[in-house]
C-alpha cells in the first residue's frame, strides 16, 4: 500500500504543452507514471512524450479515464484549471503552480471539498509513491520504497530529507509536498490520517515551517489519533517576524506561527523533533531500530 497515488493512477497533465508541463510530463513518463492524457486548450491532436493532448479536461477524462490531474498552468489560470478538473469528476488534483492569489484559493478550497475531490497544493512539489507513480517535480531517483511516510510544506527541503532517509536505508511508502501557501487544499492532518491508516507506513516524518497554525493543529490530531512513531522538523527558527520567507505562507505575524511554538506543540504530542534538517534521518533510524 501507499497513499493517494500508485500504479492505478491514470494521470492527466493540465498545461502539458507549456515549458514546465512538457518537461515534467516527460520526467514522469520516464519514471514510469501512467500518464494517460494532457490538456491544453487548442492542443487537440498533438502528442507530448507520446501522451495525447485534448482541448478540455472533460474530453480527456471521457477518452482516457484519467483519475488524477496535475496542473502546471500559470498562476492567473490555476484556479480555473482546478475548477475544470473538479467539474470533470477528477478526485485527486495536484497544483504545482506558484503564485496563485490567496483569494482565488478561498473559493477553490471550499469548491473542491464540496465536490468530494482532493486538492494538493498549490505551490507544492507534488507527491510520489516510489517505484509506482511520481506525480510532481521531485527528482525521482532519490526515493526508494519502504516504510516511512513523509509529509512536508516544502520542496527542496523535502528532497533533502528524502535523500538522507534513502541513504540511511529507510525507504518511503509515499512522500507528499502539501505546499507553502497560506491556503492549501490538503493540510498536515489530512495526510497524517492517510498514513495512520496505511498498513505499509510504519513511521511518519513531518516537515513544517513558520506561519499559520497547521502544525499546532496537527499536533492536537497526533495526540489523539496517531499511534505510529513520528519525527518532525520545523524550518525557520531564525526567521524574523513580519517577513515573508520565500513561501507566501511562511510568515510570522502578530506573534503567531513561530517555529518555537510549533516545535513545542509537536514535542508535547510525542513527536521527536530534530534540531536540524540533517538530524531527521538519524533520529528516524534510531526510532525504527527501537
Amino acid at each position: 500500500m501507499s497513499i493517494l497515488v500508485n500504479n492505478q493512477t491514470r494521470l492527466l497533465v493540465q498545461g502539458i504543452t507549456g515549458r514546465e508541463g512538457s518537461f515534467h510530463a516527460g520526467q514522469m513518463v520516464e519514471y514510469g507514471t501512467n500518464v494517460v492524457a494532457g490538456v491544453t486548450p487548442g492542443g487537440l491532436g498533438k502528442e507530448v512524450h507520446g501522451v495525447p493532448v485534448f482541448n478540455t479536461v472533460s474530453d480527456a477524462v471521457e477518452k482516457t479515464q484519467a483519475n488524477t490531474s496535475i496542473i502546471y498552468v500559470p498562476a492567473p489560470f490555476a484556479a480555473d484549471a482546478i475548477y475544470e478538473a473538479t467539474d470533470a469528476g477528477i478526485k485527486l488534483i495536484i497544483c504545482i503552480t506558484e503564485g496563485v492569489p490567496t483569494l482565488d484559493m478561498v473559493a477553490v478550497y471550499h469548491y473542491v471539498r464540496e465536490h468530494g475531490a482532493r486538492l494538493i497544493g498549490p505551490n507544492c512539489p507534488g507527491l510520489i509513491t516510489p517505484d509506482e507513480a511520481k506525480v510532481g517535480i521531485m527528482p525521482g531517483y532519490i526515493h526508494s520504497r519502504g516504510p516511512v511516510g513523509l509529509v512536508s510544506r516544502s520542496g527542496t527541503l523535502t528532497y533533502e530529507v528524502v535523500n538522507a532517509l534513502t541513504e540511511a536505508g529507510l525507504g518511503q511508502s509515499s512522500a507528499v509536498g502539501i505546499g507553502g501557501d497560506p491556503i492549501i487544499g490538503t493540510n498536515f492532518i489530512d495526510v497524517l490520517e492517510l498514513y495512520q491508516n496505511d498498513p505499509e507506513t510504519e513511521a511518519i516524518v513531518m516537515i513544517g515551517e513558520i506561519g499559520g497554525s497547521d502544525e499546532e493543529q496537527a499536533a492536537e490530531y497526533i495526540k489523539k489519533h496517531v499511534t505510529k512513531p513520528m519525527v518532525g522538523f520545523i524550518a525557520g527558527q531564525t526567521a524574523p517576524p513580519g517577513k515573508r520567507m520565500g513561501h507566501a505562507g511562511a510568515i510570522i505575524s502578530g506573534g503567531e506561527g513561530t517555529a518555537a511554538a510549533k516545535i513545542e506543540a509537536l514535542k508535547a504530542a510525542g513527536v521527536k523533533v530534530a534540531d536540524t534538517a540533517a538530524g531527521v534521518a538519524d533520529i528516524m533510524k534510531a526510532e525504527m531500530k527501537g
Partner: protein, 379 residues
C-alpha cells in the same frame, strides 16, 4: 505589499467610507501650510510602513501652523523601527465620542475572509487578542456569497451599538470586506473607527496590505509602491525572481528553495553563527541566477563568509557547479566560501569544483559548522 496610511484611506474613501481627510507633506513648511488651510487643531502623523508610530513619537498634535511646522520637522527624518519618515499627513484633530476596531483578514484556519471587530478601538488588535480574546468578535464571509448584511449587523450588536449606529457600522463593515476582496488585500483595517462629535462614523487610521501574488491583476497597486520603504537589495532580488530577506548576522547564505533556505539558516544558528540573509535562488539555479544571487549576498559589507547550499534535483549538480564557477570568476570574491552541493550528478559537480580548488562539503550540518568557523576566523 505594504502601502501608506494615506493611500489606504484613499482606497477606503473610494468605497464610500468616511475618512478623516488629511494633506500629505514632505516638508515642515508644507505641514505648516496644510495646518493653516485646515485651521484649528491638527494631528500630524508619520507616513511609514511600520506599526508603533505613536509610541515612537511619530504622531503628534499641533494647535497652530507654527507648532505644526516644528512638530513636522521633529517627525520628518525620524527612524521608526528602521523606517525613515519621508512624509507626514496633516489632518484635522477629531473629537472622539466612541472608538472601535474594524478589520478584515485572511483566516488561514477558516480558509476564508474574516471580518473582526472590537470595542477596544485604538489599541493594537494583537494586544487585545492576547490579553482579552473574548473582546474580539468575528464573522467569516461565505466563500462564494461574501459577507451578508446580517453578519455586519451581528458584529454591530456585539459591539453594543444602538439605534442608527448599527446601520452606519454595518454599512462600513460591508464596504471594508468589499474593498478587501476587490483589492486582493491581505489585511484591511480601520483602527480606530470612531463616532465623532457630530455623531458621524469616521475612519481615523487605515491600513491595507496587498497580496503579492495578486499584483498581476492589481495594476493600480504598483503605483502605490514606495521604494524608499523597501530594502534596496530585496528590491533588486525581486526583479530577478529571487527571494531575499536581509538579516543581522555575518554569514551570507545562498540556497535553492524556501524551506531549504530556512533550514540552512537554522543550521548556521545551531552551530553558533548568525545568518546575514535569507536567499532562495529558485529551483533552477542557472549560472545567470547564481551570479545575480552571489552579488546580492556579497553586497552586504557585514558578510564575513558565505554558505552555498544547493540540492540539485531536476537541475543537475554539474550544471550548478559550472554556474558557480562562472559566477565566482566574474565576481571579486574576498571572503571564504563553503559549498555544499548534492543531488543529481553530485560526483561530477563536486569534481568540477574541487578541480578548481574549491572544497565541497557533503553534509549540511558539517557545512554549517565550517562556515561558522570561517566567519569567526575572518572576523
Amino acid at each position: 505589499m505594504n502601502i501608506h496610511e494615506y493611500q489606504a484611506a484613499e482606497i477606503l474613501k473610494q468605497y464610500g467610507i468616511p475618512i478623516n481627510e488629511g494633506i500629505v507633506c514632505d516638508s515642515a513648511d508644507a505641514a505648516a501650510e496644510a495646518a493653516q488651510k485646515i485651521g484649528g487643531k491638527v494631528v500630524i502623523k508619520a507616513q511609514v510602513h511600520s506599526g508603533g508610530r505613536g509610541k515612537a513619537g511619530g504622531v503628534k498634535l499641533a494647535d497652530s501652523p507654527d507648532e505644526a511646522r516644528s512638530v513636522a520637522s521633529e517627525i520628518l527624518g525620524l527612524d521608526i523601527n528602521g523606517h525613515i519618515v519621508h512624509m507626514v499627513m496633516v489632518a484635522p484633530a477629531v473629537d472622539i465620542q466612541r472608538e472601535v476596531y474594524l478589520g478584515a483578514v485572511i483566516d488561514r484556519d477558516g480558509r476564508g475572509v474574516t471580518v473582526m471587530a472590537s470595542a477596544e478601538g485604538g489599541v493594537e488588535i494583537e494586544e487585545v487578542a492576547k490579553a482579552t480574546p473574548e473582546k474580539i468578535h468575528t464573522e467569516t464571509a461565505h466563500p462564494y456569497l461574501g459577507l451578508r448584511d446580517y453578519q455586519c449587523r451581528r458584529l454591530a450588536f456585539k459591539l453594543g451599538l444602538e439605534g442608527k449606529e448599527v446601520g452606519g457600522f454595518a454599512k462600513i463593515a460591508k464596504q471594508v470586506h468589499r474593498a478587501f476582496v476587490e483589492k486582493d488585500a491581505g489585511l484591511c483595517e480601520i483602527n480606530p473607527l470612531i463616532i465623532n462629535g457630530d455623531g458621524e462614523w469616521q475612519a481615523i487610521d487605515s491600513k491595507i496590505t496587498i497580496d503579492d501574488n495578486a499584483l498581476y491583476r492589481q495594476k493600480d497597486a504598483e503605483e502605490l509602491r514606495d521604494l524608499r520603504e523597501e530594502n534596496e537589495i530585496e528590491v533588486q532580488a525581486r526583479s530577478h525572481g529571487i527571494s531575499f530577506v536581509k538579516l543581522d548576522g555575518n554569514i551570507g547564505c545562498m540556497v535553492n528553495g524556501a524551506g531549504l533556505s530556512m533550514a540552512t539558516m537554522d543550521a548556521v544558528k545551531f552551530q553558533g553563527g548568525e545568518p546575514a540573509n535569507f536567499l532562495d535562488v529558485g529551483g533552477g539555479a542557472s549560472a545567470e541566477q547564481v551570479t545575480t544571487a552571489l552579488n546580492l549576498v556579497l553586497a552586504e559589507p557585514d558578510v564575513k563568509a558565505v554558505l552555498i547550499n544547493i540540492f540539485g534535483g531536476i537541475t543537475r549538480c554539474d550544471v550548478v557547479a559550472q554556474g558557480l564557477l562562472e559566477a565566482m570568476g566574474k565576481i571579486d570574491v574576498d571572503v571564504p566560501f563553503v559549498i555544499r552541493l548534492i543531488g543529481t550528478n553530485q560526483a561530477e559537480g563536486q569534481k568540477l569544483l574541487s578541480d578548481a580548488g574549491i572544497t565541497v562539503v557533503e553534509r549540511m550540518d558539517e557545512a554549517a559548522k565550517q562556515v561558522v568557523a570561517a566567519a569567526k576566523g575572518a572576523a
